[in-house]
C-alpha cells in the first residue's frame, strides 16, 4: 500500500472530508498541517500553488479537494458501487460545492455586510439546497439510510462536514429537514468516524 501525505492548513476546511475518508478506510496517512505564515513561502513550491495536496509515494501529486476525495473513495471502496451511484454521489457533492462561494463571502465579509450575507445564506440559499437534498434523499429508501445506495459513501462524509460546519454557526439550520438530521447522526455514529472525531486535533 503506497504511503499517503496530505498537506493542508491547520483547519478543517477542504481537507477534513479527506482526513475523515482515510479514517473510514482505516488507512494511515501523514496529516501535514502548515501554518498560515508558512504559506506565502511554500506556495510557489507547490506544483499547483494550492492546497490541499495529496502526495502519493512514487511521486504522484494530486490537487483539487474533490479529485482527491473521489480518488480515496474509489481506492478504498466508498465511492458508490456503480457508475450511476458514483454519479449520484457526485451530484450531492456538487450541490454542496455550489454553496461554497457564498460561504467564502460570509467568511470574508466586513462587519456591515456580514448580517446581509448571513441572512441570504441561512434564510434563502441553504433552505433551498436542503429542501432539494431532503427530497432527493427521500427517494433512496425513504431517506432512512445513506445518500446513495445502501452504504456510506464520500457524499455522506461531504454532507456531514458541510452540515456540521453550518450547525456551528446556526445550531438549528437543519430543523426542517428530519431525514438530513438523521443522516448526520448516522454518519456521526459510524464506528470509524466516531473514533476519528473523538481523537482528531
Amino acid at each position: 500500500m503506497p504511503k499517503y501525505k496530505l498537506i493542508y492548513f491547520d483547519i478543517k476546511g477542504r481537507a477534513e472530508p479527506i482526513r475523515m475518508g482515510f479514517a473510514l478506510a482505516g488507512q494511515e496517512f501523514e496529516d501535514v498541517r502548515i501554518k498560515k505564515e508558512q504559506w506565502p513561502e511554500l506556495k510557489p513550491k507547490m506544483p499547483h500553488q494550492a492546497l490541499p495536496v495529496l502526495e502519493i509515494e512514487g511521486g504522484v501529486v494530486l490537487s483539487q479537494s474533490f479529485a482527491i476525495g473521489r480518488y480515496i473513495a474509489n481506492e478504498f471502496g466508498f465511492a458508490g458501487k456503480t457508475n450511476l451511484e458514483k454519479a449520484q454521489a457526485d451530484m450531492f457533492c456538487d450541490a454542496l460545492n455550489d454553496l461554497t462561494p457564498k460561504l467564502t463571502e460570509l467568511f470574508h465579509a466586513s462587519d456591515e455586510k456580514k448580517a446581509e450575507v448571513r441572512k441570504e445564506l441561512f434564510e434563502k440559499l441553504l433552505p433551498a439546497a436542503f429542501t432539494n437534498m431532503e427530497r432527493l434523499f427521500s427517494k433512496n429508501k425513504d431517506g432512512t439510510g445513506f445518500l446513495v445506495g445502501d452504504g456510506i459513501t464520500w457524499a455522506d462524509i461531504m454532507f456531514y462536514n458541510f452540515a456540521d460546519g453550518m450547525e456551528q454557526i446556526e445550531p438549528d439550520v437543519l430543523k426542517n429537514f428530519p431525514k438530513l438530521q438523521g443522516l448526520l447522526e448516522r454518519v456521526r455514529n459510524n464506528p470509524k468516524i466516531k473514533e476519528y472525531i473523538k481523537n482528531r486535533k
Binding site: 499547483h48 494530486l62 479529485a67 473521489r70 451530484m91 432527493l136
Partner: protein, 217 residues
Amino acid sequence: MPKYKLTYLVFRGRGEVIRLLFAAAGVEFEDVRVTLKDWPAMKETDPERKRFLFNQLPILEFDGHVLAQSHAIARYVANEFGFAGNTNLEKAKVDMIVSAVEDAYSPLVTNVWYEKDKARKEAWFTEFRETLLPKSLTALEKLLTANGGGDGFFVGDSVTFADIMFADRVDLLVFHSSPDVLDGYPKLKALKSRVEALPKIAEWIKKRPYAPDFEFH
C-alpha cells in the same frame, strides 16, 4: 443501450462538454435546448422536482433515472463510455484538470453574466487578462507537458473528459482575453486542435446547432 435525453439551455455553457462526450462515444442522445425565456415556465411544470432535481440545468434522463449537476453528468457519461481515465489514479488526474479548467471558467461566467457594477467588472477583466488567465494556462501547460512531453493528451494516451473540457471551455477564455493568447502556450494550442480534429468530435462541431455563447459580454 438506454435512450439518453439531455436537457440544457441553448448555449454551449456547461452542457456542451456532455454533448461532446456523447459525440466522441458515438452514442445518440436527444439534445433538448431551452431558451432563457422558456426556462422559468419549464421549471413550473415540475413543482415536485422530479426532473429538475436542483432547479437547474443540465439534467440527463435515461432508463427512469435522472441526473443533475453538469460535472456529475459529464463524469457519468465519460465513465460509461471510456473517457474518464483507465485507473483510479488516471481518473483523479482527469478530475484535477477538469476542476482546474472550471476554476478558470466559473469566475469569468459570473463576471460576464452577473456583475452589474461597471467599475468592478472592468477591474476584474483586467485582472483576468493580466493575472488569472496566464496563471491558469501556465499551470495547464505544465500539467500537459508532464504527460510524456505534452504532445498527446492530458492523461494517459487517449482523449479524456479533461481534454474535451479544456478544448470546449477555452474558447470563452480566449474570447474575453485575446485571439492569440494560446500562442504563448503551444502544447495547449496543439491539444485543442488535436481534440477538434478527432473524427467524431469534428463531425459534431460541424453539425451542432448554433449557440449564442459569444453574444454576451
